[in-house]
């Protein structure tokens, strides 16, 4: 079975982003970029499926600028077999990304798509669900455990209040939550090996789908700053202030 893993290049998890003064967006010049953390978890899961003998091939797909090749190389160094880059400098919306991925899946015919539940830049949490809808496949989002038996996947999902387990027929789209696994660090020999693995470079136009934006960003601003920083000396003072000053007790 082939596993397809979409991966996204985003601002690094540890970077504190700054809003541009002209309110057109977030300043990404000279900022460290990395693979989206949820995508890393998805790659790890796909590679584990291959190591367990459930999967035969892991294909990493990224849609983004030429530098997204580095993101694909990271996936290859973790153990993915080959990559596809749909190269574009446009910041595509989730619907367009889902349509492009659906077209790739039409060509690749994977048995399962494992992908991150959300990218930490746009925080949309949408592409996996939309991809499943476009393909008319079942979806199992926010996965904390995936077990594949035959042509079914049993997926434990993190939901409000606890866990839910679903059984979905394959092919299906599964999106990874934080606790699905702990991604490995790529070893130096594997990083070297990854340089020789193939990456196929495509353009959005190759797939003949409508990627026109539906949303217009009117402005991007910083959230209002919270006035904090006041200290109290004791638990007694704390209770008194909560009661008398803040009125929340």
């Amino acid at each position: 079975m082939k596993v397809l893993v979409p991966v996204k290049r985003v601002v690094d998890y540890n970077v504190k982003v700054r809003v541009k003064s002209d309110q057109t967006g977030v300043d990404l010049a000279n900022v460290k970029m990395s693979m989206n953390p949820f995508c890393e978890i998805a790659v790890e899961e796909a590679v584990r499926l291959k190591e367990k003998g459930v999967a035969t091939e892991v294909v990493a797909v990224s849609i983004g600028p030429v530098q997204a090749q580095e993101t694909i190389r990271t996936a290859l160094a973790m153990g993915a077999d080959r990559g596809i880059l749909i190269q574009t400098d446009e910041d595509l919306e989730p619907l367009a990304v889902a349509k492009l991925l659906a077209a790739v899946i039409g060509e690749e015919a994977p048995g399962i798509v494992v992908m991150g539940k959300q990218a930490i830049d746009g925080d949309n949490n949408a592409v996996g669900q939309m991809l499943a809808a476009l393909l008319d496949w079942p979806q199992a989002t926010f996965a904390s455990k995936i077990e594949i038996t035959g042509d079914k996947a049993e997926v434990t999902r993190e939901v409000d209040g606890g866990l839910q387990t679903l059984s979905v027929d394959l092919p299906a789209v599964v999106t990874a939550d934080l606790r699905l696994n702990e991604p490995r660090y790529a070893s130096l020999p594997n990083i070297m090996k990854a340089k020789k693995k193939p990456i196929d470079v495509k353009a959005p136009g190759d797939y003949g789908v409508d990627t026109a934006p539906r949303l217009k960003v009117l402005k991007v601003v910083e959230p209002p700053k919270r006035q904090g920083g006041a200290k109290v000396e004791s638990a007694a003072e704390l209770v008194s202030k909560l009661k008398n000053e803040a009125g929340v007790l």
Binding site: V11, L95, A126, P138, D169, R179, L218, P223, A235
Partner: protein, 314 residues
């Protein structure tokens, strides 16, 4: 222009997220209907009918809807969508699961976790873990939107909308519900609680988390939360996690104990009315957002706090 709100419920009772989402819907249009999709939800529908400003309540019932299976909710909503210009869905784990599926079926760009309605096609939503707010204008004829309920006031009760049955989607062919492990608790629900007491990595163990955090929460009638570090370390269950990738809370009072205040955690609680931080590290970033910071070891401070609360009548 009419708006459909999808109710948040557990088949037994209606959740406050629904009232808050109705408030967001009423900012778009005066014609707001509520869909209660579930199983055995007559009582939930009756509660929804009491929300002021609701035109009518639609009820769709099936076993798959009772488990909020995404395909079932999607097919049911898509069948109803012709009569609506916007569908507003509380951004719960269930809502976030099916909203984009509905959007893709309708060839619409979903708009995730709005915190403000500017006008009928313009909305504000947080990006980059809440470190930036973007205002987006949709050119889609139909809007599929999830609503961060903590950003809206709950609509009042006092309405008396008509309740109507609508057809549910057929049984799902490719997805089967296996089991639920929902933690039963007498404490208020984390995302709706007026007071939240959260513990962090400083607690050091699951036993210590239970010994320190839970009695304080119970004294205050509070929900229990945790930082991602505490959840990852196994001190607290997954669904306690407050933060960018966990729950977003905005209670009247948020008490952070032994939490350093990583930006991902702050993203989940910085809209709380009053924030209290107890941490022995005076330089912990949590103090920058705290209204009342107490630099102290929780081992000393929490027992003292329990005593003071007892004196104050708790």
């Amino acid at each position: 222009m009419a708006v459909l709100v999808i109710a948040d419920h557990d088949n037994v009772s209606l959740k406050d997220n629904t009232h808050k989402t109705v408030t967001a819907a009423l900012a778009i249009s005066g014609d707001v209907d509520v869909l209660v999709a579930g199983q055995g939800v007559a009582a939930v529908a009756a509660e929804a009918a009491k929300i002021a400003g609701v035109r009518k309540v639609l009820v769709a019932e099936s076993a798959d809807l009772g488990k909020q299976v995404a395909e079932a909710v999607t097919d049911t909503v898509v069948a109803l969508s012709g009569g609506y210009d916007a569908v507003l869905i509380p951004a719960t784990s269930a809502g976030k699961n099916y909203a984009p599926r509905i959007a893709a079926k309708l060839d619409v760009a979903p708009i995730s976790e709005i915190i403000e309605v500017v006008d009928a096609s313009t909305f504000v939503r947080p990006i980059y873990a809440g470190n930036a707010l973007e205002t987006v204008q949709s050119s889609d004829a139909k809007k599929i939107i999830t609503v961060r309920a903590t950003a809206f006031k709950a609509a009042a009760e006092g309405g008396s909308a008509a309740v109507e049955t609508v057809s549910a989607a057929g049984a799902m062919a490719h997805t089967r519900f296996v089991s639920d492990e929902i933690v039963k608790s007498d404490r208020p629900e984390l995302s709706a609680a007026k007071i939240v007491v959260s513990g962090g990595r400083a607690l050091g163990s699951a036993e210590e988390f239970q010994r320190v955090i839970e009695p304080l929460a119970d004294k205050l009638g509070a929900a229990v939360g945790a930082s991602r570090a505490a959840v990852d370390a196994g001190y607290a269950p997954n669904d306690y996690q407050v933060g960018q990738t966990g729950k977003v809370v905005a209670p009247q009072l948020y008490v952070a104990i032994g939490i350093s205040g990583a930006i991902q955690h702050l993203a989940g609680m910085k809209d709380s009315k009053v924030i209290v931080a107890i941490n022995k590290d005076a330089d912990a970033p949590i103090f920058q957002v705290a209204d009342f910071g107490l630099v102290a070891d929780y081992k000393v401070a929490v027992p003292e706090l329990m005593d003071e609360l007892a004196k104050a009548g708790f």
